[in-house]
């Protein structure tokens, strides 16, 4: 079924009985052309673009839990293309352009809202860095505006501008940035892939990857063996365990990142705000909750929950930046499992095993990358060559030292991002 105003009216007048399931619940077939391990945002988008752009529809997405139950269901929903380094900048630019056409493309309301994002800065040096980054963004055809303090104040009057340690000097405003409804993104891609013939197989955990003479031949799962000559590992925080089934060790350590949401409030924050110096960022969901987060807990973890010291740190930063937030009540907090690479940038590449592809290392940048990552991973699987927007996400860059992408400038080491 296609969603339309006419469909909405018809269903509304006839008791809403005609809405069906958005995707089938098929039994796994014994063999497919392509298997995608992981039914999160990136895996679903990969399946969708394989079918739509490359006509490869004999595809199964294998999800150990349920569609959208991983990190795509537990993030802070920010979408942006304000990266500075070559390699990252063209990729996120590509992804943002896909976001801008996504709802029409999927015939699905993913609530993509280009409400703008402001990265605050607090010193002359940081202003210069923001100006340089903004110019780089403009040079590649994206948008950026350098706001001075009065410019930020006009948009965000509720910040504490007189903070002694972090006075607001201004902000880099990226108007095309914003947010999207994370669940709807997963559901939209799932429905789009399913409509094109992709089998979405849930409650199906991969327990082994079959390799014969250096070629992948299929996988073992809790729902039986499935054959395929092309297998993509798209499993975010669990990448290490999945790759280990193929005898690989990855340059990945899984860390916990916490996020928080307040009770629903009237609209008060109409952009995304990032306070890099305090490790804090915030936006307001359409339900009214203030959605905010900070830095990693900074120790390896698969717990999907964090500890109180980092929660306290995030609250301190929130109070420092916008004292009014002290009146709001925190409703809940959660944690996501981030697959942290040494340089803080992702990996999308082939492996030493023919037909086995790897998509991992998204750190805390995975949500905004969903369409781009799916699009370029599908291209890699279909053609064997990296997409032009993702030529630098090589697995071997740590071994060679060529093309490291340390966007933060903190060093290429596991505990620094």
């Amino acid at each position: 079924m296609r969603f339309s105003a006419w469909q909405l009216l018809k269903e509304g007048l006839t008791g809403n009985k005609g809405w069906g399931a958005h995707w089938r619940d098929p039994e796994p077939k014994p063999a497919y052309d392509v298997l995608i391990i992981g039914g999160g945002g990136h895996g679903l988008a990969t399946a969708y673009y394989l079918a739509k752009e490359h006509g490869i529809t004999n595809v199964a997405v294998l999800e150990k839990g349920y569609i959208g139950g991983g990190n795509v269901g537990r993030n802070t929903t920010i979408v942006r293309a304000n990266y500075g380094l070559p390699g990252n900048s063209e990729f996120y630019s590509h992804s943002l352009k896909l976001w801008e056409g996504l709802e029409a493309d999927l015939n699905y309301n993913v609530m993509h809202s280009q409400r703008g994002i402001i990265n605050l800065f607090h010193s002359d040096g940081a202003r210069d860095a923001a100006a340089r980054r903004g110019n780089a963004m403009i040079n590649q055809g994206d948008d950026a505006v350098l706001l001075d303090r009065d410019g930020v104040r006009a948009m965000l009057p509720y910040l504490d501008y007189e903070n002694i340690r972090f006075p607001v000097y201004g902000g880099l405003y990226h108007a095309r940035g914003g947010t999207a409804r994370h669940d709807a993104v997963a559901w939209g891609f799932a429905r789009g892939a399913d409509q094109r013939g992709v089998d979405l197989i849930q409650n199906c955990e991969v327990t082994g990857i079959d390799v014969e003479q250096g070629r992948v031949t299929g996988v073992q799962t809790t729902r039986g063996a499935i054959k395929a000559n092309k297998v993509a590992m798209v499993t975010a925080g669990r990448s290490g365990q999945v790759a280990a089934m193929a005898g690989m060790r990855l340059p990945i350590e899984s860390h916990i990142l916490q996020a928080f949401v307040t009770e629903g409030l009237k609209p008060c924050i109409d952009t995304v705000i990032t306070f890099g110096m305090g490790h804090f960022y915030i936006s307001q969901s359409d339900k009214g909750g203030l959605v905010f987060g900070g830095d990693l807990d900074f120790y390896a973890s698969y717990a999907a929950r964090g500890n109180l010291p980092q929660a306290e740190h995030v609250m301190e930063a929130a109070m420092t930046l916008m004292p009014m937030i002290g009146k709001a009540r925190v409703l809940r907090s959660w944690g996501g499992i981030m697959d942290m690479s040494p340089d803080g940038s992702p990996i999308i590449d082939t492996t030493h095993i023919d037909g086995l592809f790897l998509n991992c290392g998204w750190c805390y940048g995975g949500f905004k990358a969903v369409p781009g990552s799916g699009n370029v991973t599908a291209h890699l699987i279909a053609t064997g060559r990296p997409h032009e927007a993702a030529t630098k996400y090589r697995l071997d860059r740590f071994a060679t030292g060529i093309g490291l992408m340390d966007e933060e400038g903190t060093g290429s080491q596991h505990n620094l991002h």
Binding site: R238, G240, Q241, R249, L250, P251, I252, E253, S254, F298, Y299, A300, S301, Y302, A303, N307, P309, P342, F398, A399, Q413, H414, N415
Partner: protein
Amino acid sequence: MRITCPCCGPRDLREFSYRGAASDLDRPAADAPPEDWHAYLHLRDNPAGVTRDLWYHELGCASWLVVTRNTVTHEILSCEMARDVAREAAR
């Protein structure tokens, strides 16, 4: 998550800073092949379950510690002086 330092007793997590997997103690020889150095610097077992990692008691006795803990439950199983672990491994 409280870490029991062998010197100082049970202490708040905020006193410690995290370095990474305890494989950092297994430094290859200076003339080891590049593959060994790459594995040492970058590749990780990254287990979901019991792991051993290095922590520094920054706001306490300034010891380097090897903490054995569970990454799924955050349970701390043991905590040893990194010096002792390194000496034991050298035997």
